[in-house]
Amino acid sequence: MCNRQQALIAGLFWCLSNTLPGADAELGERLYRQGIGVDGKPVKAIVQGDIEVDASLLSCASCHRNSGYGDAEGGEYVPPITAEVLFNDYTPERSHLFRNLYQDIQTAVTRASVHDIKQRRAYDRLSLKRALTEGIGSDGRTLSLQMPRFQLSDADIDALQSYLETLGKPEQGALAALGIDAETIHFATVFIPNEGLNDNTDYASKKQAIELVFSAYLKRKNLNTHAAQKKPDYSLGYKSDFVYTQKLWQLHKWELQGPATTWREQLDDHYAKQPVFAVLGGLGNDWHVVHQFCETRQLPCLFPNTALPVTSENGNYALYLSRGLSGEAQTAAEWLNTNDQIRHVVQLYRENSIGEHAARFLEAGLSSGDFNIKLIRVPDGVAANQEFLSSRLADKKQQAIIAWLNREDINQLPFYKHSILLGSASMAELWSHHQHQELSEPVKQISWIWPWAMPQQEPRRLYRVRAWMRSRWIPVVHEVEQFNTFFALDITDHAMYDILDRYSRDYFIELIERMTENSLNPGLYSAMSLGPGQRFAATHNRVIRLDNKTD
């Protein structure tokens, strides 16, 4: 047996795992996350005293979360069970309490649970078994009936224990590998130049506009941190106990170059030079390579400006604002499907990655319907004007034109009496032009797939964020990209405030899932929200006309 001092001297891991020869932490992880026992079958459990369930419906992770940090926010308080918490005595030391209080605790029940400081001994094999199978805590207390009583074999317990001993905060030495130094926390952002899309002056000006937001935000953030560190006793309450967790933020700009096949290697090189805790924002059309990089590294990558996020699979670590083109194509498909009049669909698209992807997404989305689909590709250097279209477009009844074009094309488009629907994922300028009433009448008569808040119904925070930019002399020239960047920074700031020194990327992701909601909406979207496993924050597209008329 290890006592606490031994554990401190010999190292917690070594000491505890020594008592468990051969137990398999990977099987423990599977049990923790999926409720599958060492024998490969779902574990059985009793919840609420008399309800039999499969642990696949109630895995440890569903309540204590992947991070092990639990959930202080939902209807019931679920305590942290990370290695550090579980295998140490729990004393009414104030930092334990305050760490929990830092979290945004909502209900009377959870608030009371957190305030009632528990005193209990460190868990060992025996007490862990009793907690999991009989619901008796290491202090002899009967645990709440919401914590299921599991039917576990000895092998299950061994596997779980080995896994729980690795769960949570890394040892001090490992922090550098997460991008955290004594004084600094490192973040990165990724820029991917447009290949063959719009002109590169556009890319350069967007990138510059985004960089201004980053530097203004970090400047303010680091000034505040300096101020807090200079006066560590500034607060009579508990906040000053945690000043040491406030670190300076440093941002690394990872600018990718050359063909997409080399991007992954470039990202790995950047990361090897300086690991980062998370990737924030960014700019690029196609995010697939970055997505894979983030998932394999288990690196949170938040809210890039991209029209092509990965939507085919649900990642764990890559979070997006919207589904981009894929979401717009889905909206277009729904719109066509509910419109009984339409039999013929013409897809007019630019010969570039945006246009081609969008057309392909919509074709797939319509495959089950009974539509006659025609594709018209507009080659580079050719204008999508009356002359180009009249020879290719038959003026049919029951026809809808869905166009995936560049911004410059809009003013050239001839006016058609049939429904014409435009995707706007690659045209964030549209939002700004509309905001500043710079759209011509014909453009307003087009129906748009609109991923943003409805005109004149923008959330009020829009004005606050605008004022924030203005007061820092940031020219707001690419509002959507700049506000998205602000959002990525702002929510990270909130999450880091809660994390204190619990540097777990899983916990970070869980906090972002919880905090992404309307109150942090930078004003661009009608609604924002995430939840466990949800990876797209603002998914609500509408079909609208900007002159407020309907077709």
């Binding site: 919840v47 609420q48 005293g49 008399d50 309800i51 039999e52 369930v53 419906l57 109630l58 569903s62 309540c63 979360r65 959930d71 926010e73 939902g74 209807g75 019931e76 308080y77 679920v78 305590p79 909502q106 209900t107 009377a108 029940v109 959870t110 009371a112 649970s113 009632d116 528990k118 207390r141 009967t142 645990l143 709440s144 009936l145 919401q146 899932e513 919880r514 909601e517 309307n518 109150s519 609604a527 929200s529 939840g531 466990p532 496993g533 949800q534 998914t539 609500h540």
Partner: protein, 205 residues
């Protein structure tokens, strides 16, 4: 909330005492200090007034539109037990659904079970159907969503709305015989069954 009872009510004297204590403030116990499940029941029948829950069109997981009024109409003969959940919800909802799962066999010809998503943007028909499947839902356990405005309105009227769905509270509603009851907390199977039994017997509350 009046009247208010905690779960373990034995004879009428103790029930009276519990009611007294409750009236003094319905103290919430810290969740972890309990060795048995506690919950509160309140009668909110006044909300059944036609003006209140009308105009709430829900969409069933098979795509059918159903008026909530219509759904509750069957409560004249059979209780309708309903809960608000969302499919990606991690800690509270699975336990709430587990309670319905545990009573669905007994309730086969006796009650309607209803789960309504509070996350319509994410909980598509497919997601609701696969959630139902995971819990082995039988025919009389139905799953609904609706448009965001309707769902938010409905929660506001029932006084359970949270801006952030992650702060979702465990509440179960039972509509029967022109009455509407609200149960705050997570019950055991036995507690749920005996509450239903008492309800069907007559006006206890």
């Amino acid at each position: 909330m009046t009247p208010c009872f905690t779960g373990h009510t034995g004879n009428s004297l103790s029930r009276f005492l519990v009611a007294l204590i409750c009236a003094a403030g319905c103290l919430l116990q810290p969740a972890w200090s309990q060795s048995s499940v506690e919950y509160q029941i309140s009668d909110i029948s006044h909300l059944l007034a036609p003006a209140f829950l009308h105009d709430a069109e829900l969409i069933e997981s098979n795509g059918q539109a159903v008026e909530l009024q219509q759904l509750l109409a069957s409560a004249d003969s059979q209780p309708v037990i309903f809960q608000f959940i969302f499919t990606s919800c991690a800690n509270v909802c699975p336990v709430m659904s587990t309670i319905l799962q545990a009573i669905q066999k007994e309730m086969a010809d006796q009650a309607q079970l209803v789960s309504i998503s509070i996350d319509p943007g994410y909980d598509t028909s497919e997601r609701l159907q696969s959630y139902a499947e995971r819990f082995g839902a039988m025919k009389h356990w139905r799953f609904f969503t609706g448009d965001t405005t309707t769902i938010v309105q409905l929660q506001k009227r029932l006084n359970i709305y949270q801006q952030n769905k992650m702060r979702h509270q465990p509440v179960t509603f039972i509509a029967v015989n022109q009455r509407l009851l609200r149960i705050d907390g997570l019950l055991s199977r036995q507690q749920m069954l005996s509450e239903l039994g008492r309800l069907l017997e007559g006006p206890v509350y």
